[in-house]
Symmetry: C2
Amino acid sequence: MRLSELFTKTSKTIPADEKSRNAQLLIQAGYIHKEMAGVYSYLPLGKRVLDNIAQIIREEMNDIGGQELLMSTFQNKNIWEKTGRWSDVVIDNWFKTKLLNGTEVGIGLTHEEPIINMLKPYVNSYKDLPLYIYQLQTKYRNELRAKSGIMRGREFYMKDLYSFSRTQEEHEDFYTKTAAAYQKIYKRLGIGDITYYTYASGGYFSKFSHEFQTITDIGEDTVYLSKDKKLAINKEVYDDELLKELGLNKSELIEKRAVEVGNIFPLGSKYSDTIGLFYLDKEGKRQSIVMGCYGIGVSRLMGLLAEHFSDDRGLVWPQRVAPFQIILVSLGDDKKVLEEAEKVYKRLTEKGIAVLYDNRDLHPGEKFSDADLLGIPYRVVISQKTVEKQRLELKKRIESKSELVTLDQIVSKITRD
Amino acid sequence: MRLSELFTKTSKTIPADEKSRNAQLLIQAGYIHKEMAGVYSYLPLGKRVLDNIAQIIREEMNDIGGQELLMSTFQNKNIWEKTGRWSDVVIDNWFKTKLLNGTEVGIGLTHEEPIINMLKPYVNSYKDLPLYIYQLQTKYRNELRAKSGIMRGREFYMKDLYSFSRTQEEHEDFYTKTAAAYQKIYKRLGIGDITYYTYASGGYFSKFSHEFQTITDIGEDTVYLSKDKKLAINKEVYDDELLKELGLNKSELIEKRAVEVGNIFPLGSKYSDTIGLFYLDKEGKRQSIVMGCYGIGVSRLMGLLAEHFSDDRGLVWPQRVAPFQIILVSLGDDKKVLEEAEKVYKRLTEKGIAVLYDNRDLHPGEKFSDADLLGIPYRVVISQKTVEKQRLELKKRIESKSELVTLDQIVSKITRD
């Protein structure tokens, strides 16, 4: 894409009404627009980042047998009343609205109840299970305060997967498999080495649930970390009993700030039993289904990546997430330079590389500072000097040194990364 | 995908609470699930159809310079009050909800106001225009009655594009370009030859707007059609004056039922003026922006295609829209048949063809009637007979005759279509 055609512009002014660094940066770079506290629109660059993260998650969920669907936003009161979760006392962050005839409807904040109900015509026999069903969808939660930018929104984009297993053992197998898929996702997003499988509070259904916590100074959670054992304990469940159970010593744990980037919950059979989803086993006997749910906040991850990888010049997107792989910058209005830039833009694009071509008539300093703020992983500069030398100037966003290279070298470098 | 792994199943029972044929068929075939009147979830097959339609629209919108973003669902009352459209009297199908602090928020039914407001930091000079901005997004409208399945939902998926031009002439150029892009979309969806550019009521801003009406017996609208001139007039604006203006004779027009599958509205400068979005011309003088909006209902199109192309055996998806290109059916449990089926499944998939492999242990009749109900364009059968003849049995969903062909012939046929 040509930068001259992109409607967003960068801004040097830090938005006064934003306390969180992710929202400040993403607004200044033109990735998002604030509609109200906790509610953001995703502008073209932001939409590309969101889609890139979603696609990585989708691929890994498909890989473990997930089937993608899209549940409705509007929620049927009758279904939620069965589990008692329609009540605003039980679930304190519902948004609700009304049909013209007065019927109350909920605005989807999670989808256990409707997915269980939807499955009724499809699940009868043990042959119909196990099932792993997921969606990538906007969710709505009525947060009292929303000060963390896109890391905790009233309206946010998430992946939620629901598993339906025949036995506890089958459930646990999938639970483990999902945990591994989550680690793959974080690795592809560039946070594999700082993201830990974490013991957290289990809620109603089991002693513990598991979170994935990314260790970062911007975190709001506190975890106790064992680097050797590659696991962490959320402060909320950190006690001697658990340490003993996990065979951990206080001395090997370090206290760290962290951000929750995923969670997996054992749900048992409570919801499916209540709504009336069962299966018949080989002997024709009615059995309960063992459920799990598995969430990853896509917009939250985008916020974390924006904030964690930023520096004082702006965003620093990991390779797989960046809206473009290369920002191509032409310097000056020399005809040869512009011709060469067009040629390089065309050739890189043909190679399937996403290139943002800064063809604007601006001073080099402005173009470079925009390239830094936008956080595109590679900057390629074409100037009179590079044309003379028949090379291109390549610099990584995270490095300060540039090098003169050929187009083929750029292609092989980016394809490899 | 293997049909044995898909969680949905077909049903022979017509859902009692559905009057519309599109919802009946799509529910029986397991494409959608009804949550409440006018609110449906999209199951894996339905999601694939929705995505296919959306992708065709996206490509054509990008082709005319559209920039894709994703606006929020939640709407800021303050912005809508400026144009007077917050009022439930003016807009009678708002859904609204409340933040915990009591602040009212709207649930997005269209996005003129927030998009104009979002553009304020980005549009100043004539150099920043024209702009064409669109999204593919779930919208919510509080319809009093919702009896048309996914063709008129309370929650529905649509593409909405907004154009911002410097002059009336520039606006009209783009308006014409969009009309052409819409025709391309309908052609790719398989309804090009029955979809007409139609004069309709203009609302506040101009004498006429334009709709695209697909001629079909299932239509709720009435249009007067000139096949020669490739245009139609909606009954609501059909009068002698318009006929004269368009140089049409009553005698050359035929009355037909039709479904609106798109609309393009000239908006003038009313909303942008009111919200305060202007540009400075070359002389530094403040000027109004000329706007247009352009909608296509993605889920409505899916409903139309489902209903219009169906027959008494089920769905008949157009090639580009179908969730899979081929349904591969193995007959019997002969080892050679199953091996051949696996091999063919693998090879077709490797060629990039979307194949649904019916590997279930069912009677041929059941498999064939499911293949018909699901509406996959091509059926490939592997049986003892085809294995002996070293051929595959190919049948189009819309034809009754099958033929024995080679795998290469199938690949070239499907790639060509």
